[in-house]
Amino acid sequence: MRHHLILRVITKLLVGTIILFAFYVQFHGDYSPGGGFQAGVIMAVAFILYGIVFGLEKVQQVFPPWVVHKMLALGVLIYAATGIYSLFIGYGYLDYSALSPEHPEHGQHWGILAVEFGVGVTVTGVMIAIYYAFANRPPRISDEEW
């Protein structure tokens, strides 16, 4: 896609903004609509857009498939580990007050941030992995047919 100049310039401008917005949705989920699921999808969209415009090889240089595959499991592990941590401190599973025993509200904040981060990592990973899986297969219709 060397010839789509406008697409390439706009994409370069947009990708950073989209990633920034994804982080905002991710870590501001306590105060405004949004959270891990939405942020993960938005984050994935940034990379998918990059992949569509610049080609699969370019985006896989930035985000190699093995990293994506690790991310799938890592997110679930972050989530589960938050719960196991609170078990070890002596609270119930996923009782975030454990993260800051003298100030349970802060503990809840940290806990929610941690699990939302886990959700975000998994969702980003899954979305990008599915996109890679689809885009990796040789297309059966040529570009001219579009």
Binding site: Y79, G83, I130, F134
Partner: protein, 178 residues
């Protein structure tokens, strides 16, 4: 507008246009959710339904053909099923309370409890996030596991197939050269 878009999804035979119309449909339903004050749901619908799904449908489209096959069976029975189901759903809405009514079950069952407890137990303004990540932490862990499993499933199905095809091609190449 939702109805018009849905009809266009059914009528248009070019699959590319169908994919675009389903994206439009998702965006319109996101607007509907905003109208119902469900901002979190609307956000998800706009990001997942209109964004990712459209891209994935287009990705699938690149692997298959561009036009729908003409249908061979008669449309009478599917149409009958659709009308009966639709009729039952409309009949069901007769019993539902009006939008925004204060004594609706949604307003009286558990939500007052959550609304009351969140500010001093969790201390964050977005009650949806509080319920999702804290009160219903197990459920969300389960959901994350579901997303994870779905991703693994798609990877196994699709990338495995791609690799096998590539291997077959390599085999063919080798035998051709030999």
């Amino acid at each position: 507008m939702l109805v018009v878009t849905a009809l266009s999804v059914v009528r248009v035979t070019s699959l590319f246009a169908t994919a675009m119309f389903s994206g439009v449909f998702s965006l319109l339903s996101a607007l509907l959710f905003v109208g119902l004050d469900a901002v979190d749901v609307a956000f998800t619908e706009a990001a997942v339904g209109a964004g990712i799904s459209t891209v994935l449908v287009l990705g699938t489209l690149a692997l298959t053909s561009r036009h729908e096959k003409p249908s061979t069976s008669s449309p009478v029975i599917p149409l009958f099923v659709v009308f009966v189901t639709g009729g039952a759903l409309v009949y069901g809405t007769m019993d539902m309370p009006n939008i925004g009514s204060a004594d609706a079950p949604a307003q009286t069952h558990v939500s007052p409890d959550y609304m009351e407890r969140t500010p001093h137990e969790i201390g964050i303004p977005n009650v949806v996030t509080a319920i999702l990540a804290s009160y219903r932490g197990y459920d969300t862990l389960g959901e994350t596991a579901v997303v994870f499993t779905a991703g693994i499933g798609v990877l196994l199905l699709i990338s495995g197939l791609g690799r096998r095809r590539k291997e077959e091609e390599e085999d063919d190449g080798e035998s051709g050269a030999g």
